[in-house]
Symmetry: C2
């Protein structure tokens, strides 16, 4: 088994944190955003969309999409459960993971792709859309702060994949977009401090 | 148990097709895109993001996000399996459902929201982004046509939620965007004809 990953990639980070929580390690081949060898024909055979990460099983089966890879490991290594323990919890984790993707992670990636100089000439940029997404992201950080009143983790009472998704979204916001958690977002800041101090956050 | 839905809504349609495949029916309360009562305070208590569908369980528990609702019903009514039957199949269905969301459904919704007169004054529109997404959508329809060579369904050998997601994406493309499957996309057209003739397609 082997994981194809991307150095400093947002989605590969989700999978690395997930694997660290499962105390799982496996061989990793890292690609690079500058050299972009994952856009070459040799790799497009493995994933025609050219996205990373991609998991290759021992029989050559290929699984792309971060959450698909995480879900595969969840079934291989059930403890600790990161997708919920009961039917209801699994639905709630799915709901919150999607909210974190749609409301935080995709907006953060859109701001990065559409406004950051790194992507000039590499991807088509629509600055007006980047600005719209930046405002959405700021608005949703306030919303999430309210949702975290009296809650330790996102969605259920146990660290889960929705926390991981929110973590990488806010890492992207802080790193690539210079958008930190505002001081008056006390619940979000408390949650951030807790999840960032887990050993898996260094994965 | 009760489902809050949206008349002609793209995501509610996914859930309705899913429920029809499970031969499940439940009380549905329909909202309307014109009157937008799901953006009123009375409904925002149920889902502060104001999105539909939302499932309300008998004890008042609320589950939003289409795929979270579908996953809940998958566990309640395992047959026919629409998320895959084995660990590997479940990872593959997750992978393909996400590809259908990220490569087809979200671009189709973006073109609709950013370029259609219906949304003028209701949502902030960035026409240049809508144009970019239209080109992506056309490109991805060609890609999917190639992926469907020799395949009856998307991702695994059985109708599944990735098929449903692709169905509603192409319904949106055809209905709201006047973007039909090009004639030379023979595999996609064959698949479309097969999935559209299932009784659930009328749900």
């Amino acid at each position: 088994m082997k994981l194809y990953s991307l150095k400093n990639g947002v989605n590969p980070r989700r999978v690395r944190i997930f694997l660290a929580e499962k105390r799982m390690s496996l061989p990793i081949e890292e690609f690079d955003m500058e050299t972009r060898a994952h856009k070459d024909a040799a790799f497009l055979v493995k994933n025609p969309l050219g996205t990373l990460p991609v998991l290759e099983l021992d029989d050559g089966t290929l699984i792309s999409e971060s959450v698909a890879i995480c879900r595969y490991f969840e079934e291989m290594i059930p403890e600790p459960p990161l997708f919920g323990r009961s039917s209801l919890e699994r639905a709630q984790v799915e709901m919150w993971n999607r909210r974190m993707e749609l409301e935080l992670l995709l907006p953060a990636i859109d701001v990065f792709v559409h406004t950051h100089p790194f992507w000039e000439g590499k991807r088509e940029q629509v600055a007006g859309f980047g600005d719209l997404r930046r405002r959405q992201l700021i608005d949703r950080m306030r919303w999430l702060d309210g949702e975290l009143v009296g809650r330790e983790f996102i969605g259920v009472d146990r660290y889960n994949i929705a926390d991981i998704t929110a973590q990488v979204a806010l890492l992207t916001a802080r790193g690539a977009l210079k958008l930190s958690i505002p001081e008056d977002h006390r619940n979000l800041a408390r949650w951030w401090s807790a999840v960032s101090s887990r050993p898996s956050a260094r994965a």
